[in-house]
Symmetry: C2
Subunit: 451 residues, 2 copies
Amino acid sequence: MASTKPARGMRDFLPADVRKRNYVIGIIKSVYESYGFEPLETPSVENLETLMGKYGDEGNQLVFKILKRGEKLRLKTGDGRHELKESDLSDLALRYDLTVPLARVVANNKNDLPKFFKRYQIQPVWRADRPARGRFREFYQCDVDAIGSSSMVVEGELMSAVSDILKRLGFTDFTIRLNHRQVLTDILDTAGVPEELHTDALVAIDKLDKIGADGVATELSERGISDVASTMLMGIFAETQEILNQEKDINRTIVANLINIVSNETLTELGQILKFADKAPILIDPSLARGLSYYTGAIMEVTVPDLAGSLGGGGRYDGLIGMFGKEQIPACGFSLGLERILVVMDEKNMFPPEIADSTPADVLVTIWNEETISSSLKLATELRNQGLRVTVYPEAEKLGKQFKYADTIGIPYVCVAGDDEIKAGKVKLKNMKTGEESTLSIKDVASNVKI
Amino acid sequence: MASTKPARGMRDFLPADVRKRNYVIGIIKSVYESYGFEPLETPSVENLETLMGKYGDEGNQLVFKILKRGEKLRLKTGDGRHELKESDLSDLALRYDLTVPLARVVANNKNDLPKFFKRYQIQPVWRADRPARGRFREFYQCDVDAIGSSSMVVEGELMSAVSDILKRLGFTDFTIRLNHRQVLTDILDTAGVPEELHTDALVAIDKLDKIGADGVATELSERGISDVASTMLMGIFAETQEILNQEKDINRTIVANLINIVSNETLTELGQILKFADKAPILIDPSLARGLSYYTGAIMEVTVPDLAGSLGGGGRYDGLIGMFGKEQIPACGFSLGLERILVVMDEKNMFPPEIADSTPADVLVTIWNEETISSSLKLATELRNQGLRVTVYPEAEKLGKQFKYADTIGIPYVCVAGDDEIKAGKVKLKNMKTGEESTLSIKDVASNVKI
């Protein structure tokens, strides 16, 4: 017999899960729309060549590839002489993030899209990662991106919107860590890391939170960065860490500390973002690296205490869209991780009661006997017209069983239409919590149901 | 340079498309919830073995298979001596419909789910079909299923809910064609089609709408069904067709016509469905076959004039869940095709104006100069707090350019805060349709914006 479990790293969402997910998604949508972002959706399946080479070597390996079909596959596997490559077997792949598809869409529709295109996109992505606690192979990204402007107004509005979302969801202690790829480049240059090793260094620095300063130093050495450079680099970050442990005017102190290392232009950009998003809890962190290689300017990540990793991250990527079209178009975006948000909200009971204690229906309509089924169905229709969510018990079983069912699935009211009630044009309504029963006109049911 | 088109048979949905899709999905959700159906979501990727053998031979071929990863793949492709099979190369697959995953979930969670489990599920499915007009490789199914009861109340409520949805979307001329697998079996028996050829015969009969009576007769013959049986079969369907062309009491006449062929029990079930869903426009059609092999009882399909194919279909499948568990659990469901619904609604302009003429934002806030950016952002925040959707022009360009942008993307109001207005704590509001301009207190903007 086939297994009934979902595939490795994948999850089924039962109704209570879906309601929580939709609640969070609803708030994210509503805030993004209030900022003038528009919804976009792209296909789950992309041409393999669209995705390959956009996420670094590790990313390439984590892309789920789809097997060629029919003739195309037979032509490739029929000949036993050559070793098969993935590209012989696969032509399509599952979406790995929402940014590369966006870049493709912008390049493909550049005549139909406004010169500033502000879109949000909430869809699943797939990564063939080793599953672990809180890490899945299918997960939702909630992306927001503004295309077409180099102004720091974009970064500011993105940070404000993300901050609004987290506040509306009930987060009170989150921090938006902010950095700039140019800050990192300038620090690496100052420390004497040769330019061709910058990408390697960033991959190592990105792990600072996970493996600590010693771990990063070891990895820097493994990646061929000299001890002198590594020591200087870690020294600069250690100084920042000291400042981060202080209490006030942290951003100002950090910026002051960078004045001799980082260009004025870059510091001005960071200053503008702080000013334009002055209600968002932003903290400049010069050691923030972000894994992806396509960032070119500001980068950011949202963290909360008690959660390893981040709730989301993003940054400016002025070069990516040019990979798909003739034109370089500036762009900046942010991606919230739905699963991360849900983990924290679940642990801290942050869902409002109507979501946390949701029920499948407001009222269960019982069935008195085989002959009265139509009456019960008609009653259900009338209650639905009153705005109630109504489920009908499907079988003419003993009334006790029907009540027990309502109780088991948490339906707060049961409506009985027996022979007497049907004759009188009335119904009996029972409040399952209080046990209270009353006989009512059908038209008065909704006003007696308290949800 | 990589192609910027979506993969073959896949589509990007720009904001106007997404709004239309979400409008339809919203109505479907709301009606299903009013009937007490609960949301369920399952992963896009299933174990290959979960899907194989559930959709017939043709289905097996149309399932998108995912390439094995890393070591698992190398072990299989390294040895050139054997011919590779798909199962050597693939272990996972993309969801082909929402019914088989539901059956898996029910078997996997049978102790946590209520004895009657009513769920809806609106998610994409993937089929490696040859793309054609209106046929895509990724498309959304909107499924609703009731698990655990053999009562025709289930069929009745499903038909009522589907009918309510289509009416709320503005469909006035749809028909729910209803049949029963047992009716087909009895007709095939009566015509003398041997039992082992029933499945073949049904595949042919399913194409009656597409290829006509002569086409079906040819295919029946190709599939080894005798001319005598084929002629008798087509005769029975032709009689029905004549009745279908009459005007009144069609269902009663059709049932009367089947009395000598079909068992009483089956006709009673059909009669109950008609009675329990008496507001739904149901028409009994004994030639309705439905392609999928897992149906065991009532089957139905929704058609509208001027659209080849159907808006959706479904039926009872009492044997499917048992394929995943020890227990046979009765079940019945219906699937609406989102894309089909959208095609018809687009052609007939059935979207309400707020969807058809939607805009990215209610108000564009301009930027006067570099120094006033913060004032503009603050203004935007206040307008959002008034409930407006507000986009900020990201750059301090000439005001004319900013107005032109608002006009191009269809934003109905533009709000200007120049030096004078900022000093006076006021803003200038321009109605882009009428050209009307007024100077207002910030707190009065929302009440002067008519959406």
